[in-house]
Symmetry: C2
Subunit: 542 residues, 2 copies
């Protein structure tokens, strides 16, 4: 079982040093400290374990070190920055693992860009040696890239020429869509196993600068100090992200505010988020004092962990029933506080994180049904769970109160990867309905919710149990692959962004290639990498 929690004191592959406004995040992969057996992490190549630490560092920097303005990403290995995802790990992994591994690493790189864009923590890649494949893809997720000019070090994407797969961790998309490299040059670069060194790499826009070995550290540091100066001093004091207290049992995971209950034989899970109880804090001082115990931060960290667990450790669970429990009024009070203090760094970070967790949900290759019953609290930020679901069932009961409600948080604080709110994505044909939903006074009972277009089905007491049971049975009987492709197409209507292009177009092609005999068959390039035998291709183009 893969565990997604870690902390700097436990890092094996990264060193995180903070010096005032500058964080130095240094890769120093220990080749024997692998997540699985059968490969060695040579030349700063990475497996999921390495990336879990990176994701943790990126997250902690935002919460624990808000004073940091520049994150310098570099390596402690001489002459090598990072050789990318470990090929032997990929070669020995199942298809499902490869796909989920790539998705997680993509999310980590998008989180780096999110920090640069929204938290004022600018990432600078200081390539003290060659960055190849996933190594360059990590660099290209940073705002700026500097390469040592030692006559040897290069940036490269050798996946196509050496491995018969794609630079699928955002590489191809970021080349032409982020750095806007001319497509013919991107073509040459992506087929050139040895890559490009300083001068040519700069000329083509692959890096932002290069310095000779003797001046590399000094020049990069100067530039970093310049960036710090530009961004001004931030004297915020971070909060600590303590380990989640999770009780793991045979059928699931119990957190403080989240429960994951697995119905393995039926291949679905119940994922319940509970509202805060009692008084919720209203001032910044109270929030800072609560720190990571503050409901939205804690509940969403738990939700995040549960989603990752479902993805990686519960592959056969095809459907997740999203449920909520507790007092919706308390959820709305939280939202009110988050909106009121949205300019405060900690509230901003909590909100940005909630948005990332919800995007993680959107991008999870499982079906989601939201079940809205008496005692549930799909209100404000938790309404996003219902809006992110593939379908929503809401009980229509004459006797019991069932309701959903919006808050200001549904207006744009929690955007999807396509840049729209979930309500905007829902009502592309009738954008006026978004305004109507917000114009509605108070909560929506079932009939109002149905009328407003917020729910898919509203069965009554008599039908509820059967209808939900049948829907679950039907969904879990369908081809899991067809569902993945269908959901990836239906969830992201409307505009496309760098992120959706990576998760849609690039990932879909990479997954296709990860199935192809030319990559993973006995004669495939991935299979034969590093062996004396040569790859043999079926040259039919499709």
């Amino acid at each position: 079982m893969i565990n997604f929690e870690t902390r700097p004191e436990e890092y094996k592959h990264w060193r995180l040093e903070i010096e005032g406004a500058v964080a130095r995040l240094s890769m120093d992969v220990q080749e024997d400290e692998t997540l699985n057996e059968g490969y060695k992490l040579k030349l700063n190549s990475y497996d999921l374990g390495v990336d879990i630490e990176l994701a943790d560092a990126v997250q902690r920097l935002r919460f624990e070190h808000p004073e940091v303005r520049v994150v310098l990403v570099t390596s402690l290995k001489p002459r090598i920055f990072c050789a990318g995802a470990n090929i032997y790990m990929l070669g020995t992994s199942t298809h499902a693992f490869k796909v989920n591994f790539c998705k997680f690493t993509n999310e980590t790189r998008c989180a780096i860009e999110d920090a640069s864009a929204h938290s004022g923590q600018r990432y600078v890649a200081a390539l003290n040696g060659t960055a190849s494949g996933g190594g360059y893809e990590l660099a290209i997720a940073c705002e700026e890239i500097f390469l040592v000019d030692d006559g040897n070090s290069a940036v490269s994407l050798p996946e196509v020429p050496l491995l018969g797969v794609l630079p699928g961790t955002g590489g191809l998309t970021r080349l032409v869509d982020k750095r806007k490299i001319r497509r013919d040059r991107a073509d040459v670069f992506s087929t050139l196993a040895e890559g490009l060194k300083g001068k040519r790499a700069k000329e083509w826009g692959l890096i932002d600068g290069y310095f000779p070995t003797s001046k590399f550290q000094e020049s990069v540091n100067e530039h970093v100090q310049q960036l710090v100066k530009e961004s001004g001093v931030q004297d915020q004091k971070g909060i600590r992200l303590n380990p989640l207290e999770v009780e793991v049992n045979a059928d699931g995971r119990e957190y403080r505010y989240v429960s994951l209950k697995l119905n393995r034989e039926k291949r679905y899970a119940d994922l319940t988020v509970r509202a805060p109880e009692g008084e919720t804090p209203a001032t910044i001082e109270e929030i800072e004092q609560l720190g990571d115990a503050y409901w939205p931060l804690r509940a969403y960290r738990e939700l995040d962990d549960a989603l990752l667990h479902l993805r990686m450790n519960e592959l056969e669970t095809g459907l997740v029933c999203l449920r909520t429990e507790g007092d919706g009024a308390n959820v709305l009070k939280v939202d009110e506080t988050l909106i009121k203090h949205k300019e405060h760094w900690l509230v901003r970070e909590i909100t940005l994180y909630m948005a990332r967790v919800l995007r993680r949900l959107d991008l999870t290759a499982k079906s989601f049904f939201a079940l809205i019953e008496p005692g549930s609290c799909f209100a404000g930020n938790l309404l996003e769970l219902a809006l992110s679901a593939d379908r929503t069932y809401m009980l229509n009961s004459p006797d019991e109160e069932v309701s959903v409600a919006t808050s200001e948080m549904n207006r744009g604080a929690l955007p999807m990867s396509n840049g729209l709110t979930r309500l905007q994505s829902r009502f592309l044909a009738t954008p006026e309905k978004v305004a109507e939903v917000f114009a509605h006074e108070g909560s929506f009972d079932t009939e109002e919710a149905e009328e407003a277009g917020l729910v898919t089905f509203a069965p009554d007491d008599l039908d509820w149990e059967d209808e939900v049971r049948v829907a679950i049975e039907e969904r879990t009987s369908l081809s899991p692959d067809a569902l993945t492709g269908m959901e990836a197409s239906l969830r992201f209507a409307g505009p496309e962004t760098l992120d959706t292009k990576i998760y849609g177009r690039l990932t879909a092609w990479q997954n296709w290639i990860f199935q192809r005999p030319n990559a993973v068959g006995p004669q495939g390039a991935l299979t034969n990498y590093g062996k004396p035998t040569q790859a043999q291709f079926d040259y039919k183009r499709t």
Copy 2:
């Protein structure tokens, strides 16, 4: 060998009737007239042969019947409109065939939308019976959809529940991006094998109207007459599209203006387009008189045919070297005429068609290198060939004249699927370069072209032969699958449109699923369709 040329007199599966401003395009698939053996085309299901006729009809309507304002797409079979792509055909096809078949059918549907949008020929689907799968996908490519309300007929996308694949001929994308169906309803609809009938289908936005059997024809006709009235009378007289005269030999195809020479053992082809010779017409009268012999129409029809031939009949050809021959001044004269008369229907149609052919090239899963040598004429519309290539090599010779040139046609008349010109796509990072290119006086010699960013490499006489040879050898040695994924990612930087979402996101997922054992393995849903055995899924979600 698949032949892409046909004409109404030879149609087996469609009937095309013109009555004034209304064309009636009726599907009546002959179940034994299949393109390959091993299946029967029951219930108006289709194979590539059926779609080649449809594509031909859509094309001819624009050139031969410009007076047509509304195209009524319907069926001659009672109670069935169209059952979609034939499952047994799909089940017995190779992966490469399936993928290329889907691409062609997608292009046909996009051509229908192109006709509605730009030629004022509005397509109306009159579903006189059930439209399922590809049948509904054909309907949804039309501007309006009317369904008979006979208590039985429905629209449906049963691919996911019945076949474990996607409605990949644009279906999923058009549901949420064109018709903007609410995503939860799209989810329900796409998992509901039996689909939805009149009332609910209308309520959910899947159709535009429904009429009882007794009033169906009459009501649809009334609506069609209304549309005709709105669009006003067009008294244009069409031109005839005669069969291409192509000389087929063992190593390629010779057309009037296009040569395709296959170097099969080296897995690449030379595709040459020749400029017009002598005087080119300058007036509408001369153009109308020339008809389909007019250079841009003829040359691009030949290019289109050659591309389709390469895709379907020459699967192992991985690289196409694009070449041109003749007097660039003549090409520029053609462009001048096309721009001057762009408001005339025939010139408009020719230009729209040139744009479609170039998009067909962009979407072809082969590598393209443009080779610019003495005697070539990459000018104006033919410059688009170089701009659409993955790379461009231009000889830098002190002795011989080598040049390229732009025309007004490069400014927007020939857009890519992403809505940009090829120059805009090329210079996303430096949009000012587009203006600089147009500000340049006269043609570009090699050094000017390189300086302007129009070519990738400019080897001199000494290096040219070796450099091109090595580039060809290297390209054709790479994994064809990795190249397909790479090119699909690098060619379409910038904005995404309905079209690019279909060819990128949806197609990539469909191709992935077409590889998965859950669809095509011995226990897969596609394999087991119609057999007494049931599909068995590996339920791991990826």
